[in-house]
Amino acid sequence: MFKILIAEDDSDLRELFKKVLIQSGYAVLGVSNGQEALDALDKEYYDLIISDIMMPVMDGYELVRSLREAGNNIPVLTITAKDAFDDMRIGFLSGMDDYMVKPVNVNEMVLRVGALLRRAQIINERRLVIGNTVMECDSLTVHTNGESMVLPQKEFMILYKMASFPGKIFTRQQFMDDIWGYESESDTHTVDVHIGRLRDKFKNNNDFKIVTIRGIGYKVEK
């Protein structure tokens, strides 16, 4: 069973998050600030932290920063009242993995927790499973029903990225920045060419399909 640590100073909210997560089958501990969270982490292992930003004693940014400085890569979902772009930037810079803006929809929170845990596992194992399809990061190989196919690196990265977040739309520019690098001179249409090849290679795969959102980008659907 996955263990989740919640740092939130409002007791009603903390209880709410605990209830929802316990209902979804997680083991949960609630604490009321960043310092208490660090103390709890010293005593026991947790798989994920849900943290508020504005808390007394030690706030969420500081909590995440001190975790990352200590080399702890535990996934952190921050919950914040601030929706200003700048605050998000500070959050990601200090090392948070995902964020939600209050008022938080608890059903969505459960989904995000699941996705974060899945992603942490994908990162740890360097492989990803969708239905009967397995993608292995180190060998750039995709296995489907006993058949294996080695993909060129960039093609694999595009597919792997989309498959890590099924249903999420990625723009061409995002692929260019993440896979080709910010300095790349290549045209964004290069992405279209790679997607075309991927589509062709997996046209008989029933586990996922690559969907085009015209003028915006691509996503993988299960």
């Binding site: 709410l16 009242a81 008022p103 608890v106 015209r214 915006i216």
Partner: protein
């Protein structure tokens, strides 16, 4: 700049005084001589023409001394005031960390300086108060709203509710969302109105920002099965990135709101005559002509749009952000119905 301005002003003053002295002496020389003759009763000596020049010299020297004295005295006031004016300009630009000192022994000047320092301190405190206030209010209001929404969702998730109860829960959820959106918009609007936002200009890809905004709103438009027709040129834009995003979020959200199920939203971004032109067009009901001029007013909502959702602040926010960053927005009904918003920057 401050150092160059000070002597220039004083020199001008000095030269002006001497020039006036010189002019007065030359133009009124005969009358002046008469006056002096009258006062001193020394007609005989001064009627000699050589002496006349000596007299002119004396008068001219008088003005010279007068001018110098004036300059010296005004220096005492002039220099501290020029300095004050330069510092005031900095405060007007939003720098509230200034404190100034003077060596002047004039009481009035010393008072002005200490009052100025006090004023800036107060302004600084108000500014901090307002920024903190906005983020505190936002945190303090949104935390209980999250609790309300969360517990209502728990009720909704349980299978033991009747159809009627489920309807009430839906209403609670819908209204908590409305409330939180309203709070967010009011706070942002008050920030923009008071220009409390420190403007941060940077270069960024505008077309990508708009695309990200469409991606962000994906849950809303995919639920209504809306198609996007996107035609955007690669555009590098210089502006306040975090403020601009609210323009696109609001305009796109608005278009989704008024689109019918399965509708289409057209988005285009082009360079035209050195300006950047963004157009968004939905195929909803459009805007009645007599209402078009009000839709950018705070809390204004077209008849019937109350029923849809929103709080009448979105477009007003868009307009204020654009005004702040030197852009403009207009609206018209597109051919074949639907509203078309045009942003020019």
């Amino acid at each position: 700049m401050k150092k160059r301005r000070r002597p220039t002003h004083l020199w001008r003053y000095f030269i002006l005084m001497i020039a006036v002295g010189f002019l007065v002496t030359v133009v009124f020389q005969s009358s002046l001589i008469m006056i002096v003759e009258e006062i001193f009763k020394v007609k005989e000596i001064l009627s000699v023409s050589q002496n006349r020049w000596i007299l002119l010299g004396v008068i001219f020297a008088g003005f010279l001394i007068g001018g110098t004295t004036t300059v010296l005295i005004s220096r005492k006031y002039f220099v501290p005031i020029t300095k004050l004016s330069a510092e005031m300009q900095k405060v007007a630009q939003g720098n509230f960390d200034i404190q100034i000192e003077t060596k002047s022994k004039v009481k009035a000047i010393k008072e002005i300086y200490s009052d100025f320092n006090l004023m800036v301190k107060e302004l600084n405190a108000t500014e901090t108060l307002q920024t903190d206030f906005v983020s505190n209010v936002s945190h303090e209001i949104k935390t209980p709203i999250t609790a309300i929404e969360g517990y209502a969702t728990l009720l909704q998730n349980s299978n033991e509710t009747t159809a009627e109860q489920a309807e009430y829960i839906d209403k609670i959820l819908l209204n908590t969302r409305r409330l939180s959106e309203l709070v967010g918009n009011i706070l942002l609007l008050s920030k923009v109105d008071n220009k409390a936002i420190q403007r941060n200009e940077s270069e960024f890809r505008l077309d990508e920002q708009i695309r990200q905004s469409i991606v962000l709103l994906e849950p809303k438009w995919s639920k209504k099965e809306i198609e996007f027709d996107v035609d955007m040129e690669d555009t590098v834009f210089s502006g306040d990135e975090k403020l601009m995003i609210h323009i696109w979020n609001n305009l796109i959200d608005n278009a989704i709101k008024f689109s019918p199920q399965g509708g289409e939203i057209k988005v285009s971004l082009k360079k035209e005559n050195g300006k950047t032109k963004f157009i968004i067009c939905d195929n909803g009901p459009g805007i009645p002509e007599n209402e078009a001029k009000h839709i950018f007013n705070k809390f204004y909502q077209c008849d019937g749009s109350h029923k849809i959702e929103g709080n009448g602040l979105g477009l007003s926010l868009v307009k204020n952000i654009l005004t702040l960053s030197g852009g403009e927005i207009s609206v018209r009904n597109a051919e074949g119905g639907g509203a078309e918003f045009t942003v020019i920057m």
